[in-house]
């Protein structure tokens, strides 16, 4: 009985699988054929997908990537801490906390709304120009600060979305046990909130990885800038593609880790297969 059903199901699955895989392959092949038979293809191939140029530019791009990675790692920690704080401030209730809420709201509106480039230019060139003793002049310092200011505003909103998905009865249950506001956040609300927004957080981490390259307006060379420099030699755009491949290669493992973190153990009690 069950064997028959299972056989039918797997036959159906196999059919759909074949159909969809088949159609995908067909579409891809048609697109590829269209591409390589187009009149401009040889030129495009040489300009964008030249193997020699890729090999030649790879070390420089990788070197630049090292900057992206370091900046990303250092900033990510600060961004998460600051973003979480802002999100918690924005979700405080009661008139007493109005100033904190307003502060967090203004902060988010401001630094999310401002183009990162402007923040970078203002801090990277404006702050050192003040000639204030005690203020660091390191370009990297100001670049990292700008990234943290800008991205913490984004991450705060993601965390806020997460916090607000946790049903108030969960918070009530935690408080009823005698946990303080902070403890119920720490042990009940945030663990649920964070897990739920992992895919959206991953978005910001991936963006950060790429946007960390914007610090190159301050004169440091990141992967994209390295590609640009390499392109300038002979007007071959392959280095950009190399940079893109390298970024994607970095994104994929991060995304898989995030998927694992956010995957709920099992599918809950009812109707997991629906």
């Amino acid at each position: 009985m069950e064997r028959e059903r299972a056989a039918y199901r797997s036959a159906r699955a196999r059919r759909s699988l074949l159909a969809s895989t088949g159609s995908t392959v067909v579409v891809l092949v048609v697109a590829a054929v269209l591409l390589v038979t187009s009149p401009g293809w040889p030129r495009v191939r040489d300009t964008w997908f030249s193997w020699d140029k890729a090999v030649e530019s790879f070390p420089a791009v990788l070197d630049g990537l090292w900057l992206n990675i370091r900046l990303m790692v250092v900033c990510a920690v600060a961004i998460v801490v600051l973003g979480l704080t802002l999100a918690v401030l924005r979700t405080l209730r009661g008139a007493v906390f109005a100033p904190l809420r307003i502060f967090a709201t203004v902060y988010v509106d401001l630094f999310r709304g401002l183009p990162l480039l402007l923040v970078l230019l203002l801090l990277g060139f404006g702050a050192p120009a003040l000639d204030l003793t005690g203020l660091p002049t390191s370009v990297l310092f100001w670049g990292a600060t700008s990234l943290v200011l800008s991205y913490s505003a984004y991450v705060a909103e993601v965390f806020r979305a997460g916090i607000e998905t946790v049903h108030p009865s969960q918070r009530a249950a935690a408080r009823a046990l005698g946990l303080t506001y902070a403890q119920s956040l720490r042990f009940v609300v945030l663990p649920q909130a964070v897990r739920r927004v992992v895919p959206a957080l991953m978005n910001d981490l991936v963006s950060l990885q790429k946007d960390s390259g914007l610090v190159s307006v301050l004169g440091i060379t990141d992967a994209i800038r390295a590609a640009q420099i390499s392109t300038a030699e002979d007007f071959n755009y392959t280095p950009y593609v190399v940079a893109g491949v390298v970024f994607v290669a970095l994104t994929i493992p991060m995304a898989r880790v995030a998927d694992r973190v956010s995957r709920r153990r099992g599918q809950g009690p009812v109707g997991g297969h629906l």
């Binding site: 230019l121 060139f125 404006g126 050192p128 120009a129 000639d131 002049t137 190159s216 307006v217 301050l218 004169g219 060379t221 640009q228 420099i229 392109t231 300038a232 030699e233 007007f235």
Partner: protein, 277 residues
């Protein structure tokens, strides 16, 4: 303004002529010993990364090849620095022109001198008289144009931050908004794709584009000089830099002794292009 501190008024050096030997500028304040450079004893010269032909060669300013590299070494020599005493540094555009402590003494990167810009930075005397030229591909709608007016209905492009762009908006006044690119090579790419009809660049770059970057590219012609004063490239120095007067006098001296002219013929070949009416 601010030059008094240098103690070397601009005029005092203009009469100086002759050899490139150290101290020959005739002004005591402009010798190597008394110049307050960023790093004492060396002249730190900046440019962007990457840099392009024919102003530099192979993205390497230290080789003395390319017009601006050669001019930089000539100026340094005039001020008494030999080749080993010149340090190059790569500085992005924004960092050159925003206020703040500078990590260089002077910067060569095809900066056009304008009065507005002088409010923000110091310029040396001009080392090159710029003419803007229009580049296109064979068979384009503007390939045979002989007057500025003939360009008015075309789609032109230029690099952001250049006076080429100003030339389009002020002189050509085309009916469709100009396309603005981050770099000249992106603009060339757009021209290749026929996304624009023509590209406005300075004349030497135009020759380089036509010869090295475009298959079947043509120079439509030079734009007429705008207004009375000719456009010039000058070295950029920090606002109020004590070196400005000395660098200017060095440039003036190089112009006077024919060095600049020689370097132009060496690095910026093929000056002849029809003038657009």
């Amino acid at each position: 303004a601010g030059l008094a501190a240098c103690g070397a008024p601009r005029d005092s050096s203009s009469g100086t002529a002759g050899g490139a030997s150290a101290g020959a500028t005739g002004s005591a304040a402009c010798d190597k010993a008394s110049l307050r450079t960023v790093t004492a004893g060396t002249l730190t010269v900046a440019t962007d990364k990457p840099v392009y032909e024919p102003w530099f060669s192979g993205d390497d300013p230290t080789n003395g090849k390319g017009f601006e590299s050669a001019v930089a070494y000539a100026v340094a020599a005039k001020l008494g620095y030999d080749k080993a005493e010149v340090t190059w540094t790569r500085v992005p555009f924004d960092s050159v022109v925003t206020p703040g402590t500078k990590a260089f003494d002077l910067d060569f990167n095809e900066f056009s001198i304008t009065d507005e810009r002088k409010k923000a930075v110091d310029f040396s005397s001009g080392y090159y008289d710029v003419r803007q030229a229009v580049v296109t591909y064979q068979g384009s709608p503007i390939a045979g144009a002989t007057s500025v007016a003939a360009l008015a209905s075309s789609r032109l492009g230029a690099q952001v931050g250049t006076t080429s762009l100003t030339a389009i908006t002020d002189q050509v006044k085309p009916s469709s908004a100009p396309m603005v690119y981050n770099t000249n090579d992106l603009a060339v790419q757009a021209l290749k794709n026929k996304q624009i009809d023509g590209l406005v660049v300075d004349l030497p770059t135009a020759f380089y584009v036509v010869s090295a970057q475009l298959d079947g590219g043509v120079i439509v012609g030079q734009l007429p000089a705008a207004g009375g004063t000719p456009e010039q490239f000058g070295a950029v120095l920090a606002k109020g830099s004590p070196l400005t007067a000395c660098v200017s006098s060095a440039v003036d001296a190089l112009r006077a002794d024919g060095t600049l002219g020689r370097l132009e013929t060496q690095w910026l070949a093929g000056q002849g292009a029809p003038e657009l009416k």
